[in-house]
């Protein structure tokens, strides 16, 4: 185990995996936080915009914007899982294989 750990640490693929996965995860986190806190700030300061009618009906911009925030959360998790369970896990598998 100790020896495996040392091999992993010295494997350039490990550094690559960590760098790629971390930057991807943090990028998506920042996007999600920006969307959410952007929405909250819009609620606090941009009530006018969210209350504006779309196409003259009673439907306001607030509805699609709110629903879009919910959908964006789901889409972002999908994007992450897709890449992590494919590309990153394959790299991870190689690293563990090479450490034996």
């Amino acid at each position: 185990m100790q020896e495996n750990a040392q091999k992993i640490l010295n494997n350039p693929k490990f550094q690559e995996l960590v760098a790629r996965r971390s930057s991807f995860a943090w990028t998506l986190s920042v996007i999600m936080l920006a969307i959410y806190f952007g929405f909250i700030l819009l609620v606090a300061f941009g009530k006018g915009f969210l209350g504006t009618s779309i196409a003259g009906g009673v439907m306001t911009w607030g509805i699609p914007v709110g629903v879009a925030v919910i959908v964006s959360a789901f889409v972002l998790t999908g994007i992450y899982v897709n890449r992590a369970n494919g590309e990153f896990d394959e790299l991870n598998r190689q690293i563990l294989e090479e450490s034996k």
Binding site: F14, A25, V43, M59, I70
Partner: protein, 571 residues
């Protein structure tokens, strides 16, 4: 069942108007309620649910042999199943009845809440889900204490877990008692005892496997029921939301204001503070974190969050539609020109007051079920609402029992020298004790305002559990001293500020003005905790601290690659 004869003092409306941020966390039903006529359809359907889940518990009991089976369902739950179970933990009676009620009363503001409840999930996935799965065994304390001194960290984590679980449980027990009066027409005491006894049965006999399946079944029933309601509502308007909204605006006393943000978020500090408590609190709830140890590996853990986010998001969109459905079905006259769900019909030529709803705003979704699906469906939704509480408390109880047996007993008291059999025995004893204690707490708090308690649970989870968990995984320079001082600072400051704030100091204790100005102290207590961890780690130059820092590398490799991680047990 349409003629709900007894009239109920709806303090809920006042609560929603005044303390929305915490009230929306709230137990299902607030304020005094009066027992309704006995609802046999609901009782029969609930009995079928109980019979089915006890059957599952019997099956699960036969599979549950080792500690890994008991705490983590043998690690054999799939990502999809776990996603449903996590969603089930999250779709509590409060979020179903509470958010639908909020939309019914205020329209758009309900959606703002839903969003806040959801966005924590992607963050959990991106930053902690796979590390948690790779490092942990049965409880989040396994992860938080990975390279530190076991006794102080486990004690802190167990206290954080038990505090979170206790406040959450009280809110759920009181909610169950109120709901059974409204929905089943049975006594308060019955609800508390039924919930207490069943949760003991599920957890002691069936462990995590039974707890997970009870949650999955409930999640499927709730999602199906809510889908049916939303479809029936939209069908009346030819699946054109614009027409539904038009009708709602024309009958709601607030008129066009229900289509835009209202008074819910007045100052950004409160809003951001609430958002932080929701987001980080979710990532610190012990009964949710436990679910990550029930899947085979990091891959399945990621899938769990993906499915959970999808189900929860879908569910919130449904509750929004149901809330608008409630507006048109409750506030507009029915085919015979009557208003069956209001305490009194509005005077001719005036709009009905939403606050006039029978049973308070939390009943909006239930009345809507009656209006779209008749008595039988009304019974079904009532039974599902009650089953929801049952499933959530089972998960909470298991999390509390694990904190006692795995963290306090096995690690702190017995210092790891304990057999699996003894540990499971302690866990089962703890389950029975927690069950009995929550029955008594449920009785003791019957007439108390418990709305703030779920908020308190979230704030503690966000300020004590989450910072030590996150920092232990991400920051190699953290030491035992920093974690312990920072964690306790977070726990104590969050409780103190909440008690001195408007929700407790003013609303519960009846003082004229609050000492701490904000409803939600999350923004402050979370920062205090993180700064505490940072400062008391960085200034820690002890021998112990040096060796703890050296251990980070091995932990880091395991957290990234899963080398040496717990696998699924084979059977």
């Amino acid at each position: 069942m349409r003629s709900l004869t007894n009239r109920i003092g709806a303090t809920a409306a006042a609560l929603i108007a005044g303390f929305v941020p915490v009230a929306a966390f709230a137990a299902a039903v607030e304020g005094a309620v009066q027992k309704q006529a006995t609802n046999y359809e609901a009782i029969i359907m609930f009995s079928i649910f109980v019979a089915g889940t006890l059957g599952i518990t019997y099956w699960a009991a036969k599979q549950t042999k080792s500690a890994k089976d008991f705490y983590a369902a043998g690690g054999g739950i799939t990502g999809f199943q776990n996603g449903l179970a996590i969603a089930g933990d999250y779709m509590s009676a409060a979020s179903f009845l509470g958010i639908a009620g909020l939309v019914y009363m205020n329209g758009y503001d309900g959606l703002i809440f839903s969003v806040g409840w959801l966005v924590g999930w992607p963050i959990i996935l991106f930053l902690i889900a796979e590390r948690l799965r790779n490092l942990g065994k049965y409880t989040f304390a396994d992860v938080a204490s990975y390279r530190f001194q076991q006794t102080p960290i486990r004690t802190l984590a167990a206290c954080g877990s038990l505090a979170t679980v206790t406040f959450y449980l009280i809110a759920q027990m009181v909610g169950a008692g109120k709901l059974i009066q409204l929905l089943f027409g049975m006594e308060y005491l019955w609800a508390v005892v039924i919930v207490g006894v069943l949760m003991i049965a599920y957890v002691t006999f069936g462990g995590m496997l039974a707890t997970t399946w009870v949650q999955i079944i409930k999640a499927v029933l709730l999602l199906s029921g809510a889908t049916f309601m939303a479809v029936m509502i939209l069908a009346q308007y030819g699946f054109n939301p614009e027409k539904l909204f038009q009708h709602a605006v024309s009958v709601h006393a607030k008129s066009g204001a229900i289509m835009q943000p209202g008074a819910l978020i007045s100052d950004p500090v409160s809003a951001i503070s609430l958002g932080m408590a929701l987001m980080f609190g979710t990532a610190g709830l012990p009964h949710i974190l436990m679910r990550f140890f029930t899947v085979a590996d990091a891959k399945e853990a990621r899938k769990s969050v993906f499915y959970a986010t999808g189900f929860i998001g879908y569910f919130y969109i449904l509750t929004f539609i149901i809330g608008f459905g409630a507006i048109v079905l409750i506030l507009a006259p029915d085919a015979s020109g009557a208003f069956p769900f209001l305490k009194a019909a509005p005077a001719a030529g005036t709009l009905a007051s939403p606050a006039n709803i029978i049973g308070g705003s939390n009943m909006a979704a239930i009345h809507t079920a009656n209006a779209v699906g008749g008595n039988l469906f009304y019974g079904f939704i009532s039974a599902v609402a009650f089953a929801t509480i049952l499933a959530v408390v089972a998960g909470l109880t298991l999390a509390g029992a694990s904190a006692v047996s795995h963290d306090l007993y096995a690690s702190v008291i017995a210092k790891g020298r304990v057999s699996e059999r003894d540990e499971i025995r302690v866990s089962k004893i703890a389950t029975v004790v927690i069950g009995i204690v929550s029955i008594f707490l449920g009785i003791a708090f019957e007439n108390q305002n418990v709305a703030f308690m779920v908020g308190l649970a979230f704030v503690i989870a966000a300020s004590a559990n989450f910072p030590i968990l996150l920092m232990s995984m991400f920051w190699g320079k953290m030491t035992t001293r920093g974690a312990v001082i920072g964690g306790w600072l977070g726990l104590i400051s969050s409780v103190t500020m909440l008690v001195l704030g408007p929700t407790v100091w003013k609303a519960v204790l009846g003082n004229p003005a609050a000492i701490f100005p904000y409803d939600n102290p999350g923004l402050f207590s979370i920062v205090i905790s993180f700064v505490g961890i940072w400062f008391f780690s960085i200034t820690d130059n002890s021998q112990q601290a040096q060796s703890e820092r050296k251990l980070f590398e091995a932990q880091y490799i395991r957290s990234q690659t899963g080398l040496g991680a717990e696998g699924a047990s084979a059977h």
